[in-house]
């Protein structure tokens, strides 16, 4: 089971990294989101995976899941959303002001409108 979990995390990370290496803003944003899923899963698993565990609530029975990674990941999810939002709006702004959604340093190229 651990191997399965780790493989999934790694696969998501790989897909995320591939997308962040693209030359346009939107794939990069999608890639970052994907990467953050992977990282959240990774961090979440740091306390061990409780296959038959109970929620980290006092009195809910043992074994209980590790609450600390959960607390960290919970805020990470919210912050991740804020950062995704910021980056994607930045991308919009960049396109509005520069007329291009490139992030490969190729600023002169005015983007071909809407993939026609």
């Amino acid at each position: 089971m651990e191997a399965l979990y780790a493989t999934t995390t790694g696969l998501l990370a790989a897909c995320g990294v591939y997308l962040t290496l693209r030359g346009r803003t939107f794939p990069v944003v999608v890639g970052l989101t994907l990467l953050s899923y992977s990282v959240n899963l990774f961090l979440f698993s740091m306390g061990g995976l409780a296959m038959h565990g109970n929620p980290a609530v006092v009195g809910a029975g043992t074994p209980a899941a590790d609450p600390l990674p959960q607390a960290l990941v919970l805020t990470a999810i919210v912050i991740g959303f804020a950062m995704t939002a910021f980056v994607v709006i930045l991308a919009m702004r960049a396109r509005g002001d520069l007329g291009s959604d490139h992030v490969n340093g190729n600023r002169l190229d005015v983007s071909r409108e809407d993939g026609k």
């Binding site: 651990e2 899963l41 990941v73 919210v78 709006i89 702004r93 992030v103 409108e113």
Partner: protein, 930 residues
């Protein structure tokens, strides 16, 4: 305390000319002279103590932790230099008043001069090596201002920059040297360092210290091969040159040699480095002084030469040589300052400094000619003048240098050669300029300068004569006390007499005088010899080198920072891979001691769906909407994974965030290109796939390695103390609002800031609005479907109720401010989608920014509230209450904190989405507009 005044008075004096800038020039000069004159008075007042062998000291703690104190000393060496700096400085003030033309700001020059004077006095009086270094760098900075005084001239700017670069770089080397000394000794106080001199000399770091300190001294004193900045510093006004290149600036370098003499000298290494540098500089400077056609150029190179002589003397490692070096410092300062001022008068009255044009000035300015002749004769080492004394001592010492073994005779021979050249260029300064025919097409008709312009030269020439004729009477006390500080012990007996009988040094002097006349007579042959060499302008070489350095820096910067995010990502990923990879290589075996848990079909299915969706996101990325839908699948599966592994809080949060994220990305996609054109080359795709795979493999391996090993978690503490310490059963929530409340406060602040930043980014955004979808179909006219509108409106109160429930129970059961906030936000966003921005804003007429701000404020104030009861920030307290229906809850301060979290999440999320959504409205007419 009076010692501090010597340093502070010139500093305060720098303000005087600025405040008196509108006074007549004469009055301005007198006012400016007041402060240094008082300082000089104080210095003279202390002379008695110094001659009696005492060392007045002053100590004021400053940054004692770093070993840097405001510590001053006034020993013989300091006294000698302070007298030179202030005395010649005062003369320069008088001289500048006549030299500077009406268009130039005299006040500015005076102000810079006084600052420079402060820095110089600081160097020579500092009793702490670090303090000395601070003043050392101050001289570099202030000399930059002085050399670049005529900043409208490109030459002046470049000359100033070169001087600053060279001496500043040397200063950094000196700092390094001083720090190493501090490392060896454990103190920067001069007395401590002096006491540890043997320790420094026997330390294995001694060569490092020596080279670093000497780099500082040699750059400042324009020693070969750093001499090139000095001639270009001649683009300064002549009074500045007279000051910088006689008594100060370049003398700071030899001062450092003298100061460090008792600490660093006495070794073979010192002898070889210092004396050879000095010898090379002596000859180099003397040769080029003879070759230059510019009056100030001659003086510049002769300065280099004489500094080489002083350096050579300090390099001899002999007590008498050090005494001779000190004597020559005094003598050189007096005759060189007067020569510079004389050259300034010639320049001022004739309008040129070109020796080829200047001839026969004796007839026009006989008085100046006589003054210049005496000063020149002193420079040449003619008997009855002070230059003779030190030159004689120099020759005597050169005979005693034995370290070269069988080749030791070379040193006196080369010293005599230096003497010959020195006589030749001194002769040239007199004969070629003031005699030898008639002036050739001068811009002005020369005449004697104003009376008081000559006064400073007269005073200096008088000193030259007095020292030369009555040395024991005039200078012995000062020289002995200065020598005592340089030698840090008894001073050898010496006699300062003009006549020592017929001996070898006298013979060498005779050879130098006769040979000098001979060389001067043959000078035209030497000129034509020198013309065969291509003249290189050090300024151009320096500028070109600097430019090359800048280009190199720019190129290397550009290769990293080329504006391509892909490039940055590449470097980042490679670095991450490298470090994690190294870590993994060190692990003997990937799987740990734990047996793997078995997985069931459901888990397998989930993993496969997640993996496929992730792959799909990457593969279909060019069709952006498809990719986005794939991404949402991954998000939902992540949420399910959290639920499966007993993390209901996370699952709820992820679910809510997933909804919000998807709406956000869809909205953003509306304004961005719908498709990504094919751009990456096959090779690039290959590279990225490999890189991504490597990254995935590393992450997976790392994750697996950790999962199969036992963890030592600190969570047991949280589990054990959640109820007693935080008053809640849901440990995740207690951690968030209590144990790690400070983190959460930071995080909601970030959330609020992100919301605000987005709000500002959306301000006056120019948008590309597609008029149709991908396949050219126009947008649906039915923007707000009836069913959705009705349902969402009905749903809102329910959703709000649920969020209140989730919020209140959050402390004990899965839930809490984050999740409740997200649920509320989602419900309101649904209303936006269903009814449009206009309608919603009419009903929900509150701005979101204050909500978010209030959230952060409430959370912050809750934390601060515990201060009122004498507890640390964010200490929570709680009590139990029973509320009908919901049951028993704790009303903890943590709940108030969670309310802050709730409001921030609602405010920030809506700030982001509602503002983005609003962009769609003004551009398109809404259907329900009625």
């Amino acid at each position: 305390m009076t010692l501090l005044l010597i340093v502070l008075l010139p500093l305060l004096g720098a303000l005087v000319p600025l405040m008196a800038r509108n006074l007549p020039r004469g009055r301005l000069a007198w006012l400016t002279a007041v402060a240094p004159a008082i300082a000089l008075g104080i210095a003279v007042f202390h002379l008695g103590d110094v001659f009696a062998g005492q060392t007045p000291q002053f100590h004021l703690p400053w940054i004692s932790e770093l070993g840097l104190d405001l510590a001053l000393r006034f020993d013989g060496l300091s006294a000698l230099f302070v007298l030179l700096i202030l005395g010649i400085g005062l003369l320069i003030i008088l001289y500048s008043r006549y030299y500077l033309s009406g268009e130039d700001s005299l006040a500015r020059l005076y102000s810079f001069l006084m600052l420079f004077m402060t820095a110089m006095i600081g160097i020579v009086m500092a009793d702490n090596l670090l303090l000395m270094w601070v003043f050392w760098e101050l001289t570099s900075l202030t000399s930059f201002l002085l050399i670049g005084y005529w900043y409208q001239l490109s030459e002046a700017r470049k000359g100033a920059r070169m001087a600053l670069t060279v001496t500043g770089a040397g200063g950094l080397a000196l700092l390094a040297g001083i720090l190493v000394i501090g490392h060896i000794v454990g103190s920067y106080q001069f007395d401590d360092v002096l006491a540890a001199a043997d320790q420094i000399r026997s330390s294995e770091l001694y060569p490092v210290v020596l080279v670093l300190v000497l780099l500082g001294a040699f750059t400042k004193s324009a020693q070969f091969p750093f001499q090139f900045w000095l001639p270009h510093a001649m683009s300064a006004p002549t009074p500045v040159s007279a000051f910088l290149h006689s008594a100060t600036m370049v003398k700071a370098g030899v001062f450092l040699l003298a100061r460090m003499h008792p600490i660093l000298s006495g070794t073979d290494l010192w002898f070889y480095i210092v004396s050879f540098t000095g010898l090379a500089t002596l000859l180099y400077g003397a040769w080029f002084a003879l070759m230059k056609q510019d009056l100030k150029g001659v003086l510049a190179f002769s300065t280099i030469s004489h500094l080489g002589l002083i350096t050579l003397l300090f390099g001899f490692n002999s007590q008498m040589a050090a005494v001779a070096g000190l004597l020559h410092i005094i003598n050189h300062a007096t005759f060189k300052a007067s020569l510079f001022m004389a050259a300034g008068i010639v320049d001022h009255e004739c309008g040129t400094r070109d020796i080829r044009k200047l001839n026969g000035l004796y007839r026009y300015m006989p008085h100046t000619t006589i003054l210049a002749m005496v000063a020149s004769a002193s420079m040449a080492g003619v008997p009855l003048l002070n230059g003779f004394l030190s030159k004689e001592m120099f020759f005597a010492e050169s005979l005693d240098a034995q370290l070269l073994g069988g080749l030791s005779w070379l040193i006196p021979a080369l010293a005599t050669l230096g003497g010959i050249l020195s006589v030749a260029y001194s002769l040239r300064f007199i004969h070629d300029v003031f005699f030898n025919g008639e002036p050739k097409d001068l811009p002005k008709t020369p005449h004697e300068p104003p009376r008081y312009m000559k006064l400073p030269i007269e005073i200096l020439v008088l000193i030259c004569l007095l020292v030369g004729i009555l040395p024991s009477l005039v200078i012995k006390d000062l020289l002995v006390s200065a020598s005592a500080s340089v030698l840090a012990g008894p001073v050898p007996e010496f006699s300062l007499a003009i006549w020592h009988g017929f001996n070898v040094p006298l013979m060498m002097s005779g050879i130098a005088l006769a040979g000098g006349v001979g060389v001067y007579a043959l000078r035209h042959h030497l000129y034509s010899f020198q013309r065969q060499f291509r003249a290189r302008n050090a300024l151009l070489v320096f500028e070109a080198n600097i430019q090359r350095l800048v280009n190199l820096a720019e190129r290397s910067m550009d290769s990293f920072e080329n504006g391509s995010l892909q490039r940055y990502m590449l470097w980042l990923l490679l670095t991450a891979l490298l470090f994690v990879g190294i870590g993994l290589l060190a692990v003997p075996q990937l799987s740990g001691e734990f047996e793997q848990q078995p997985f069931d079909a459901m888990l397998l299915t989930g993993a496969v769906i997640t993996g496929l969706a992730g792959l799909g996101t990457a593969i279909t990325h060019r069709k952006r909407i498809v990719s986005l839908l794939m991404l949402s699948v991954v998000g939902l599966m992540t949420s399910l994974a959290f639920a499966r592994f007993a993390a209901p809080d996370l699952a709820l949060t992820q679910l809510a965030v997933e909804v919000v994220t998807m709406i956000l990305l869809m909205l953003a996609l509306f304004f961005l290109p719908q498709r990504t054109p094919k751009e990456s080359s096959a090779r690039r795709i290959m590279r990225d796939v490999l890189l991504a795979s490597a990254f995935g493999v590393v992450i997976a391996s790392l994750n697996f390695a950790i999962l199969t090993r036992p963890v030592e978690s600190i969570s047991d503490f949280f589990m054990a103390n959640a109820v007693s310490g935080g008053g809640g059963h849901n440990v995740v929530n207690v951690i968030l609002v209590d144990f790690r409340g400070f983190d959460t406060l930071g995080e909601i602040t970030v959330l609020g800031i992100a919301g605000l930043a987005i709000f500002k980014l959306l301000n006056r955004l120019r948008l590309f609005m597609p008029s149709s979808d991908l396949d050219g179909r126009s947008w649906s006219p039915d923007r707000h479907p009836m069913i959705l509108a009705t349902v969402s409106q009905t749903l809102l109160p329910l959703a709000l109720l649920v969020s209140v429930y989730i919020f209140l129970r959050g402390h004990n059961e899965p839930g809490g401010g984050f999740i409740a906030g997200l649920v509320t936000a989602v419900a309101i966003i649904l209303l936006y989608i269903a009814r449009g921005v206009d309608w919603t804003q009419r009903w929900l007429r509150f701005p979101y920014q204050p909500v978010a701000a209030a959230g952060v404020l409430i959370a912050g104030l809750t934390g601060a509230g515990s201060w009122m009861f004498g507890y640390p920030f964010l200490t929570s307290s709680f009590g139990h209450f029973t509320i009908p229906v919901i049951g028993e809850i704790e009303l903890a301060t943590a709940l108030l904190f969670d309310l802050g979290v709730y409001l921030t999440v609602v405010g920030a999320t809506l700030m982001i989405l509602a503002n983005l959504g609003k962009l769609t409205t003004p551009h398109r007419p809404t259907k329900e507009k009625s």
